[in-house]
Amino acid sequence: MTPVSTAFRRFHWLNGLWPWLCAASVALSLLMLGALLSLLLVRGLGHFWPATLEEITLRSGDTFAGHAVREVALPQQAGDERLYFTGNRDIEGARWRWVAIDEIAERTQPVDLIRLERSPWGDFIGRLVALEQPDQRFEGDAAWQRLTALLALPANQRQDSQLQLATADGQTVRQPLANVISAQAPNAMSWWQKTGAWSEAVWLFLSEGPRAANTSGGVWPAIFGTVLMVILMSVIVTPFGVLAAIYLNEIAHQGRLTRFVRVGVRNLAGVPSIVYGVFGLGVFVYGIGGSLDTWFFSDTLPSPTFGTGGLLWASLTLALLTLPVVIVATEEGLARIPDAQREGAVALGATRLEMLTRIVLPTAAPAMLTGVILAVARAAGEVAPLMLVGVAKLAPQMPLDDEFPYLHLERKFMHLGYHLFDTAFHGEDVQAAIPLVYATALLLVLIVLGLNLTAIFLRHYLRRQRGNEC
């Protein structure tokens, strides 16, 4: 026994402890992941639940209506302060109100409080007094029934109507029905109705475009842009990565140069993504895009067609960013195939190409898919390079539509990651943005998860079909 190992032996107490250390770090990682996911789930999905509206009377006699958002402790043990969402920006000038809890004299939940979603001006919280149509006037319950019936119709079939509304402190306002998007009386809703309203709100979030400078509305263009960009990127990166890996592993002479290239490729995976963004901007957007514009789109210059960020350049930049991942994963898959398999094929009279296409590539297919999974996971969450090469805060047109040539590679597109960043930091109303940020983050995680699961099932299926474990 060498002196070194005797020295280590002195730490014999580690023997019983190290499995616990390992287990503890696994537990801690899982716990943090679980905490992250449950935070996103609760905050993200809770936002769409119809909140109970309250009517608050303060000691000062002031009355307002809204729903409680959260509470914060005041400095110097002055009690707690509660944030209410009150809406009515057109009437009160602000949508949020901080109230010290000690100031509250009365808190009730009247069933006749309603919440209207409007554009412009956002939400209204108060009471519906009457609904006036050119020939008819409805009041009280009849007005509410008439309003929900009208809102159930498509927007162009709604009759011209005026709503007479009253705020909690008694001011009355008139509002044309045309400005109202939806109406809700959450205090009068049963649990089932709330669930229905919740799923409808989630669906609208997923299927609609953003409104009010990304502080309300949905994220459909961003979902679509993210998925389309990732698919385009995979289509570009997979053949390049796989061919490069085949060359490195199967064809190239295994010498110092291949080893150097291999190390280089692995290191490229660690280059900060913004660097790829700068490269994409310089080479793809200004270099190639600029040249394309002077050659083919000179009639529209100086307004650029390809010479500005767009879907194609973003996909290419991310393909470049994820290329090392695909190469490394594929190479590992190829290296795991025993030489006996290759020799077996060659010994049966297969040429090198036949050996590659019939034995090596099918066996390595799960490994290639693993590479693509990793690439997709990385690309879907990447924001920094996209900001330079084609993502937009609000894209006026979708990159895929019914107009020839259907797929518009030169258009700017929306991306969930960037949408998240923009909502969180560039919104005018931070309080309104918080729940949307959680919801968007949750969605981004779910999309990456969904893309990964698809690829994992595909890989599993391939493995099962071929009965191997490579």
């Binding site: 398999q341 020799e343 010994a347 049966l348 009279g349 297969a350 036949e354 066996t363 009965g467």
Partner: protein, 271 residues
Amino acid sequence: MLASLHSANTSQAPVAHFSSEHCCLSIDHFNLAYAGKAALRDLTLSVPRHRVTAFIGPSGCGKSTLLRAINRLHDLNESVAHNGQIRLEGQDIHDPQMNVTELRRRVGMVFQTPNPFPMSIYENVAFGLRLQHRLPKRKRDDIIEWALTAAALWDEVKDRMHRSAWQLSGGQQQRLVIARTLAVQPDVLLLDEPASALDPISTLKIEELIRNLKSELTLVLVTHNMQQAARVSDYTAFLHHGELVEYGPTDQVFTNPRLQHTENYITGRIT
């Protein structure tokens, strides 16, 4: 069994050279080096048709290298250099006119570890057939059944032809690999320690198979198991340090070797 084999062989002509109608493979002053290091030195021997010839010798003596040279598998490795001739039915296998893939079809090879492809049993046997020419499915099925029967595997797998070949036992896998090779109808079958990774029962099956196959083709067997060489081969070549030490009918090499060196190896005094 051993005795009968011996008596059958004692009547054979002495080995040094076979007349051209009996000679399948002839190796003539063949040298081979791995990255400048000699692995085979000036080998000259001929392998008779429709017989089992065993190459024996200690590890690293070059017996596997020689076997792979006959199949030109060394072509895959850039660091291998060779000179001298190997002739298959009188034709130099390194002749530029020689089609390597056709050579490899004619000279089948079975490796030490079973290497079935990760596909179904049927597809494994069909692999070599599909490489050559399109056969009607009916004809292909017939050849596959024939090959599996010849490899004594048909009865065990006929009901699960479309299951993964990797689910077979090691011995079954090795017989599948032999069937896969037989399916392309080779003239020569090279076996590189085909039973060394198998259990005794599977080994016996493979040995029986080797004996049965010699009516169909010429077999060359590399083994480090002396008893196996004695049991199945008609001729034995003893290689040491890349050189041919002794070559003759198996019973003569094992019972009455001409050289002391051979006797020492066979009796286990050198390894």
